[in-house]
């Protein structure tokens, strides 16, 4: 009952046979062996599993891998280019936006999508834009500061 799918993750084509019930998150983590994407709740609330699907931030725990057949996916592993941090990664580092790091991949991807949509968000817009992600360690102070610090700067 497995189905063959093919998708692109961080620019690399991945083909596999998957059970229709396998989530995109599990597919990314197990089949594509990209474990940067995290699972915090598996019911669509915490945002730890956020990835970009055709440029849109989605919760990969709520999507089946077969639904992503043919899609372009970007995960946290796709942010840095040629060994250079993306400006968001650098900003998260500078602003102490992570402690245990478990929520970080999801926040990075949500922030990335937020800035794509609104390159110059206000603090309120940042908070609103990240309110679908939960961090239990930082009280969001460093995360908001990090996104603010790169808001308005060019890609």
């Amino acid at each position: 009952m497995k189905r063959a799918i093919a998708l692109t993750i961080n620019g690399v084509r991945v083909e596999a046979e998957v059970e229709p019930r396998k989530t995109l998150a599990d597919f990314i983590r197990e089949d594509a062996e990209l474990t940067g994407t995290k699972l915090g709740c598996e019911h669509g609330v915490c945002g730890a599993c956020t990835v970009l699907l055709n440029g849109e931030a989605v919760r990969s725990c709520l999507i089946f891998a077969v639904q992503a057949d043919g899609a372009e996916i970007m995960t946290v592993e796709g942010l840095a280019q040629n060994g250079q941090f993306h400006k968001l990664q650098q900003a998260f580092w500078e602003n102490h936006a992570l402690q245990c790091g478990f929520c970080t991949p999801g926040f990075l991807m949500s922030s990335y999508a937020l800035l794509q949509e609104n390159p110059n968000p206000t603090e309120d817009e940042i908070r609103e834009g990240l309110s679908g992600n939960i961090c239990r360690c930082t009280g969001y102070q460093g995360i908001v500061a990090a996104v603010k610090s790169v808001a308005g700067s060019a890609e």
Binding site: E19, L34, C41, H43, C46, R127, G139, Y140
Partner: protein
């Protein structure tokens, strides 16, 4: 005893960004769920759907026949494993053993009853649903006071009662204080059950090597060596044949301190099946089976003179411990900690405390950041607000009047804590000044005239930190507590620091490297901090109770100082100089006053290891030292002020400002201290306004997902302003005091205090938390039914 370190260099106290961060930012960091071993199989637990029931039989045949299933185990299969029970020996504390898989009874929803092992997690979960358990439901009891009542359903029939501890402590002469009082006051507060809820749930992998007789166990735990000791005892595997490794740990906050039955079962299975076994719980399991926290029923009485001087206090702290009492330190962990610290930073000469721990048909309770203190501190501070209001005093003046002033330190409280040093009044003043207290009061009056309700909550605190043997005793838990560090200069001159305190977000790879770098005169980049592997570190207890900066930092200091002496001795011989005249800095040793005469640390190291002539006969060639540290008691302090506006029509609360003044002695890295405060305050906001584990009267958990258990997001947590004071401890190495819990100890009282201050014109009555909109509307009489 004051142990002074070498003078501070350039790293300690610097706002250094974290050396561990890059791997988390790229997605390369590996948590236990990210690990895969050859031939690995997956476990899923069958959990009780009843709060209280007798197990009459289990039929696993359908599950065993399901695709991919390898085994199903129930209690009978693991009967050789002893039950989990409280290790602490306290007079009058009753034991409530829990078998790792339920045997005859279940006592809370979520209790593990059976385990299914299958080729993947999907199949294991499918099959877990096919295990048929025949339950005979029993009446449940889900309220601590109801559980204490005559005729309540008993969780443990042979104990004859649900009360596992009930003791009264008397300090000073409380009865006379109450007789002499001009006025007495009372308050009751039932604090809400909430939980640590780390973003990474619990999980572990066991792998058993039959040839070597060795168990390797990867777990998301805060205390690797303690876990190893426990596994050895439960499984009968020699301790030295067990290696516990913690990969990255995605937050703990106390929840991952304790040994869980699931961990014992997974380790058992690894040996039983001769295959690596992995268990990663889902969020629902975490919400119903990992330790809950913070719920107490607290009753307070205060004796005062007419001018507002506190003469005495009485407290009853009833801890609602859930189905079993063994996690961390039993159902006692909440009420005992609350009661012993109830006087806080106030002069209370006469105090009586009754500590009661009760089992109920809810999830067992364990430590969570500021265990016991959150509830106790919140009850006391809200009580003091009420007293001040009744006396017509400003809440600040009432506190200032009864607070221990700096010139009274060191101060021994009536309940036995020795406050070594601090800035109690100064912190209060700085917080008030930062927030602009007088202007705020004026603004509050203006807004009230317009029908708007602004409130200010003030919460000064003293925080027991540096959990060593002495402070443990002072705050009610007589259990030795210490840790080790091993500092080594490798033959190449690079530095390895192996510590037993554990980092799961606290940034030890940076802070402890800062300590070593300063003492050894090397660059931060030349120091690697190792932890989280019992095979790679000396023995130690782990991370809990704000102890790592002090104990980890102290042990690293002592070991690094010893290594430093060794370096100087060798370098002295190489340079033909007296070690006392040598300077160790910037990776080299030079002679004071003649910087040309120098050798690099790498040259010293390679000589020490490989050139016999630089060593005296019989001298150790390795540049390494292992030192333990068990600090004397030290206490941090601070003050949190919250400004909130409440809408009396809807019960909605908007937090406008949070100011946190923190004094944790010598600061290793202010950026990390700020981060700890931010996170703890956010948890306090959650626990005061949103987070609540709700049960029905049959013991069903009604908040089993993140849809109903509400954690605060970036829109609920306002900017948090942190101000630092630095009063180094006179009794610890480097003057470090430790911190991390004060934010969750003190912010709930500040948040709730601000809400109640805002609503003061309505004379709100609040006996329960959290302050949900509905509860607020009831408190001010908008909802009456």
């Amino acid at each position: 005893m004051v142990q002074m370190a070498t003078p501070r260099g350039k790293w300690i106290g610097a706002r250094v960004k974290r050396v561990e961060d890059p791997r988390f930012l790229t997605g390369d960091a590996r948590y236990v769920a990210d690990l895969t071993l050859p031939r690995m199989v997956h476990a899923a637990f069958v959990r009780s759907p009843y709060g209280h029931a007798r197990i009459k039989g289990i039929d696993a045949s359908a599950a065993l026949a399901a695709p991919g299933v390898i085994a199903v185990l129930t209690h009978a299969d693991v009967a050789s494993v002893p039950p989990l029970q409280d290790p602490i020996a306290l007079d009058g504390l009753k034991k409530t053993p829990q078998t790792v898989l339920a045997s005859d009874k279940v006592r809370f929803v979520g209790e593990p009853v059976a385990v299914v092992i299958a080729e993947d997690r999907y199949l294991a979960e499918d099959a877990a649903e096919l295990v048929q358990v025949d339950y005979e439901p029993l009446p449940a009891v889900t309220d601590a006071e109801a559980a204490m009542a005559e005729g309540a359903p008993l969780l443990f029939e042979d104990l004859g009662s649900n009360v596992v501890y009930d003791q009264t402590y008397r300090f000073g002469d409380p009865d006379s204080a109450f007789q002499q009082a001009d006025r007495t006051f009372k308050k009751r507060l039932h604090t809400n059950r909430f939980m640590a809820s780390p973003m990474e749930t619990r999980g572990c992998i066991g792998q058993y090597d039959r040839g070597l007789g060795e168990l390797t166990f990867w777990s998301s735990t805060q205390m690797p060596h303690m876990l190893r000791l426990s596994l050895a005892g439960f499984l009968g595997i020699p301790e030295q044949k067990i290696r516990v490794i913690t990969p990255e740990v995605g937050g703990g906050f106390g929840q991952k301190m304790t040994l869980y039955p699931e961990e014992v079962v997974v380790a058992f299975l690894a040996r039983h099946l001769q295959r690596p076994v992995k268990w990663i719980e889902d969020r629902r399991e975490n919400l119903m089976s990992a330790t809950h926290a913070k719920e107490q029923i607290i009753e307070l009485e205060a004796a005062l003179t007419n001018d507002g001087t506190l003469l005495g206090l009485r407290a009853t702290c009833i801890g609602d411990g859930g189905g079993y009492s063994f996690n961390t330190a039993s159902a006692l962990v909440e009420p005992q900690a609350a009661a012993l610290m109830m006087p806080g930073l106030y002069r209370v000469a006469n105090y009586e405390a009754r500590v009661v721990a009760v089992v109920t048909n809810k999830t067992p309770v364990g430590a969570f950041r500021a265990v016991g203190w959150t509830a106790g501190h919140t009850a006391r501070e809200l009580f003091f607000d009420e007293i001040a209001r009744e006396l017509g005093m400003d809440p600040v003046e009432f506190r200032r009047k009864n607070m221990i002033h700096e010139d009274e330190l060191p101060y021994t409280t009536c309940s036995g804590q020795v406050y070594d040093s601090g800035s109690y009044v100064k912190s209060l003043d700085l917080a008030l000044q930062t927030v602009g207290y007088d202007e705020l009061r004026a603004r509050q009056a203006e807004l009230r005239a317009q029908g708007r309700y602004l409130g200010i909550g003030i919460s000064p605190y003293v925080e027991p930190t540096a959990w060593g043997s002495e402070i443990a005793l002072q705050v009610g838990f007589p259990f030795p507590s210490h840790d080790n560090a091993r500092v080594s200069i490798e033959p190449s001159g690079k530095v390895t620091v192996a510590v037993t305190t554990h980092s799961h977000g606290q940034g030890h790879e940076t802070t402890l490297a800062q300590v070593a770098a300063d003492i050894l005169g090397v660059d931060l980049a030349d120091v690697t901090v190792v932890f989280g592997d019992t095979a790679a570190t000396p023995w130690g207890m782990g991370t809990y109770a704000s102890r790592s900066a002090v104990i980890g930092g102290g042990a690293v200091t002592l070991a690094a100082q010893e290594v430093r002496e060794k370096i100087l001795k060798i370098a002295g011989r190489m340079l033909e100089a007296d070690p006392a005249d040598l300077v160790l800095a910037d990776g080299k040793v030079s002679v004071q006053g003649s910087p040309d005469r120098s050798v690099t640390l790498a040259e010293v190291a390679v000589s020490s290891y490989f050139v016999n002539s630089v060593r005296a006969e019989g001298e150790d060639p390795t540049l390494t030292a292992t030192r333990f540290y068990d600090p004397k008691a030290t206490y941090s302090n601070g003050c949190i002020v919250v400004v909130a506006e409440v809408d009396p029509e809807t019960g909605q609360v908007r937090l406008d400002r949070v100011v946190s003044v923190e004094d944790c002695g010598t600061v290793l890295n202010p950026m990390i201290v700020d981060g700890q405060i931010h996170g703890a305050v956010a948890q306090g906001i959650g626990g005061t306004l949103y987070e609540h584990l709700v049960y029905d009267d049959q013991g069903q958990l009604l908040t089993g997902t993140f849809m109903d258990y509400l954690l605060p997001t970036a829109t609920e947590v306002p900017p948090i302003q942190v101000e630092h004071l630095e009063t180094p401890s006179p009794v610890t190495v480097q003057g470090i005091k430790g911190m991390g819990e004060g934010g969750l100890m003190a912010s709930p009282a500040a948040v709730a205090g601000a809400v109640l201050d805002a609503l003061a014109p309505f004379t709100p009555k609040v006996e329960e938390l959290p302050l949900s909109p509905e509860r607020i509307l009831r408190a001010i009489g908008t909802i009456t039914d």
